[in-house]
């Protein structure tokens, strides 16, 4: 079915499960003379149950596979959550002009597929003065010659990094979980592509790779994280990780969307640090979160710094 030389794709759990469901498990198993690395990928342990040495081995295998596939060295980081850090995000709706610079800044940073197109951020447009919290009434395909438009305002939506994430609860393989710093991560090697999480997420934040991601090698960001922007495969789910490859460092850079926004509408920092920008926003502005009634407890805060 697939080329043996790209082991990551040649046998994957979901291929196996597909077979298993039909009672044909044996046909999807690697053949007896398959390369060792294929078997290794197949029996890879859960990320949080692996020892440091086992993780290093997996990273070595992955980096080798990526190099074969993309003819380019891609570093896959495994930075753990920083102690005493719980990430939070703020978005100033009184500033956002709906220009979508954040959307494409994110694509560049996080190696999303360009064809077919995958965006982790969706900017919604609402008519001022209407019952705008009704997400169904919003427009995401707006395309005027210039923004902002007098009669509208804009609300970018991405993964809200819920403290109580429904997506995590439904995952049958525990391929997605919430780490100690509050980032909800996905292990693409464990994702079987069942898309339960996509159905469970109330914010439409998750995206599915219907094909192998279409992205030119020269456009790849080679600084990646295992649980973040490393190149994905056909059949796995992905979403915003607060730029885990940038932020989980000491010192760590701001997420790409924060830096892309021309009006400074995006705020990011440590919720446990009383001097952080995000804490300032929460303490001084009227903040709200999306669909609070669902008890997902997002760590993504919207506010109106001026007016409102």
């Amino acid at each position: 079915m697939q080329d043996k030389k790209t082991p990551e794709r040649s046998i994957q759990r979901r291929t196996f499960l597909k077979g298993a469901a039909l009672g044909l498990a044996a046909t999807a198993l690697p053949s007896r003379d398959a390369e060792a690395s294929i078997w290794e990928a197949f029996f890879q342990k859960h990320f949080r149950e692996m020892s440091e040495a086992e993780i290093r081995k997996v990273i070595g295998r992955l980096e080798q596979e990526y190099e074969q596939k993309y003819k380019k060295k891609i570093t896959v980081g495994i930075e753990k959550p920083l102690p005493g850090v719980l990430f939070g995000y703020g978005l100033d709706l009184s500033r956002c002009i709906g220009c979508r610079r954040c959307v494409y800044g994110c694509v560049d940073e996080n190696n999303q597929s360009k064809d077919p197109q995958i965006h982790w951020i969706t900017v919604l447009r609402f008519k001022k003065g209407e019952k705008w919290v009704d997400l169904e009434e919003s427009e995401k395909y707006y395309n005027p010659s210039a923004v902002p438009e007098e009669e509208y305002f804009y609300m970018p939506v991405q993964c809200q990094q819920c403290e109580n994430p429904p997506c995590v609860r439904v995952c049958p393989t525990q391929a997605t979980w919430k780490d100690e710093d509050g980032i909800v991560v996905i292990d693409y090697n464990w994702c079987i592509g069942c898309r339960y999480c996509m159905a469970a997420c109330p914010y439409g934040a998750r995206r599915f790779n219907w094909t192998d991601p279409g992205r030119k090698t020269e456009e790849l960001n080679t600084e990646t994280h295992y649980l973040g922007n490393r190149p994905r495969f056909k059949g796995v789910v992905e979403k915003c990780t607060f730029c885990i490859q940038r932020t989980r460092k000491e010192p760590g850079r701001y997420p790409a969307c924060v830096e892309a926004c021309p009006v400074g509408a995006r705020k990011f920092g440590n919720l446990l640090d009383p001097m952080s920008e995000i804490r300032y926003a929460i303490e001084h502005k009227r903040v709200f979160r999306l669909k609070e009634d669902l008890n997902t407890n997002p760590k993504f805060y919207y506010f109106f710094a001026y007016g409102g």
């Binding site: 979508r100 707006y142 400074g264």
Partner: protein
């Protein structure tokens, strides 16, 4: 007359912001961050130092339409304002506060903060304006004038990047 009213208004603004600052001091009053990494002011190339031309030039305090030099400036900030509300007539390489204090262009936020006190405070706290660099390390700030042209500070509309592909358009 107009001038006096302006100055009074400014002073009032100052007092007001000082008062709010005092109230908030106990909660989350961000002192000026230990290090403010502000890039150099965005001068038009070749224009600074202003004294290149202005040194020895007579000072004309009459509001008028500028001809030749600076004719791109149609002041759309404070109505009734004039150059010397902010620029120092005695040394054009510096700015001047309403109280006569001299301010370098590198610290022009103190000038803007005379009227926009709340915004200045929130800028220092990291809320107003764009921050780049390290969320837990060196943060790069921008001067007010990097984003707002001081002579006409309101943002101009820009073209949005393309909308997402509609599912119906995927081939």
């Amino acid at each position: 007359m107009k001038k006096t009213i302006m100055t009074l208004l400014m002073l009032f603004g100052l007092l007001l912001s000082a008062a709010t600052a005092a109230v908030r001091a106990d909660t989350h009053e961000p002192d000026v961050p230990k290090k403010l990494f502000v890039p150099p002011p965005p001068f038009t190339p070749g224009i600074y130092p202003c004294s290149q031309c202005h040194a020895g030039m007579p000072v004309d305090r009459n509001p008028r339409k500028l001809q030749g030099m600076h004719d791109n400036i149609a002041l759309k900030h404070m109505p009734g304002g004039w150059c010397f509300d902010c620029h120092n007539p005695n040394n054009r390489d510096t700015l001047r506060l309403a109280n006569g204090k001299i301010v370098r262009f590198e610290e022009s936020y103190n000038l803007c903060g005379q009227c926009h006190g709340t915004i200045l405070r929130e800028w220092k706290a990291g809320l107003h304006g764009k921050r780049t660099g390290m969320w837990n390390g060196e943060k790069q700030y921008l001067l007010c004038v990097h984003c707002h042209w001081p002579h006409d500070p309101k943002f101009k509309p820009i073209q949005p990047l393309p909308p997402p592909v509609r599912p119906s358009d995927i081939k």
